[in-house]
Symmetry: C2
Subunit: 276 residues, 2 copies
């Protein structure tokens, strides 16, 4: 693991690091915020998964999360959203290929070689960060924005023993029925929709839900509401009596100004459940 | 004035606008954050001046200021740091020309035609924003980072009746004696150092000070300490018994992670003095 940068922030350290990932077969860059409490021993961890076109950097610089991580004693991990590099397959569209990994293990060409973001987030990067930083592997939560909200929800519902708290900002809530989903899941996983189901939060919510409370925030002026389909997930959530809250925040759009406005609530939410 | 974007943020509105500036003779882009209180009538204003290479966008997205502006009822204005455009003079160096206006009115060629940032900040942009937004012209404060901290301090000491509160993050504190200053003040104002003195915070502090308290934060691990020269300004400040505080924050560097970490203190500082 190579250190790219470290900056003092709210009494803790915001670091950026690079490592060789076995899962993706590429170098990967990620960011870790360690709160002041980490000086005294392992702290709980919140994974933050970002959206289309993002890298490790967007949320690290724009979400204002470190303030509340410092206050609640949570570490934050900001992974990249796809493999990168000259030999990594890509597409001209912003929503396929680099910056658009969708948190799945691709099985189709030309994506299968490097686009193993599910394994990267659940195995490869955890093995590294739990070895390198003072983090409590038994106290992990997960959140994310847009495509990253999709990732957070699908990962948490699939691996609830790993992710003991979950929330999302404006998640892609029903990708099987959206142009943010059909195209990508088809490209990465093939046209058999059975392979898509484990990567659709609405379908997972209908099938199994999550053994804890789920917090979702969505802006009512989001320019991508037609693609996100919050109504599908909210319906599935309430139909199964899933504990938690689906909040429609009046006037907010899809930007980081929205995420920033509610990040405090989410960090406190996770800290209360992870014992931060 | 043309609206570029508006985003809901902490219950208020983060807007970006473009206008034709008489001072610079160019189009200029700036950002305004209006807190929720602005719906009920004019609110106090804090000017935030940015540093070298920045635009209106850096602090708007990275400083985390809106949260505290909403809470304290302050509006924020984020101007650009120089004129822009194909016909605007520039230099290959990052610290001269575009993105490096230094908040002066240039008198020398090729800069004199467009580089009138002092007039832009003190006359042109105020006339526009006080006409267009619910802002209290009698309740203005000013702050800034690095080159913008230099701008904030020099403007406030020169026009204390306009700027009723002042603070700075890691300001360029003594440009007459720094490579961040000699080069630019020489280029913009000529080689007569008498023209530089009104644009050197340390010299102004020695000569006149500020009729109120001054708050300055500086990181002890700032990679540009040799260029910023905080010791010169601190010495001048304490020698004249200038009320206020010069704080050396252990371990922080020059980045926005530093600004973000202390923005709450600064917004509360200004709100207390402006009646936000």
């Amino acid at each position: 693991m190579e250190k790219v940068s470290e900056n003092r922030c709210f009494g803790g350290t915001q670091g950026v690091y690079r490592h060789k990932s076995a899962a993706t077969g590429t170098d990967m860059t990620f960011a870790v915020y360690l709160p002041p409490d980490a000086e005294a021993g392992p702290v709980p961890v919140l994974w933050y998964l970002s959206g289309l076109t993002c890298t490790h950097e967007n949320a690290m610089t724009k979400a204002g999360a470190q303030q509340w991580a410092a206050e609640t004693g949570l570490a934050l991990i900001f992974p990249d959203t796809s493999p990168r590099g000259d030999d990594v397959a890509d597409d001209e569209a912003y929503d396929l290929g680099k910056g658009a990994g969708f948190y799945v293990n691709a099985t189709e060409q030309p994506w299968a070689k490097h686009f193993k973001m599910w394994d990267y987030i659940t195995k490869d990067l955890p093995d590294l960060v739990f070895a390198e930083f003072p983090l409590d592997r038994g106290a992990q939560g997960i959140t994310g924005h847009s495509m990253g909200g999709h990732g957070a929800l699908t990962l948490a519902m699939t691996l609830p023993e790993t992710y003991r708290s979950v929330s999302a900002f404006a998640p892609i809530a029903h990708p099987s029925e959206s142009d943010w989903g059909r195209k990508q899941l088809g490209a990465y996983l093939g046209e058999d929709r059975a392979a898509w189901a484990p990567h659709d939060a609405t379908l997972l919510m209908r099938e199994k839900g999550y053994p804890g409370e789920v917090l979702i925030d969505q802006g009512s002026s989001d320019q991508f509401l037609d693609l996100l389909k919050p109504e599908a997930l909210a319906e599935a959530m309430m139909a199964r009596r899933q504990p938690g809250a689906f909040r429609m925040q009046e006037g907010y759009d899809h930007s980081y100004f929205f995420v920033h406005s509610f990040i405090e609530d989410h960090l406190i939410w996770h800290a209360e459940r992870l014992g931060g």
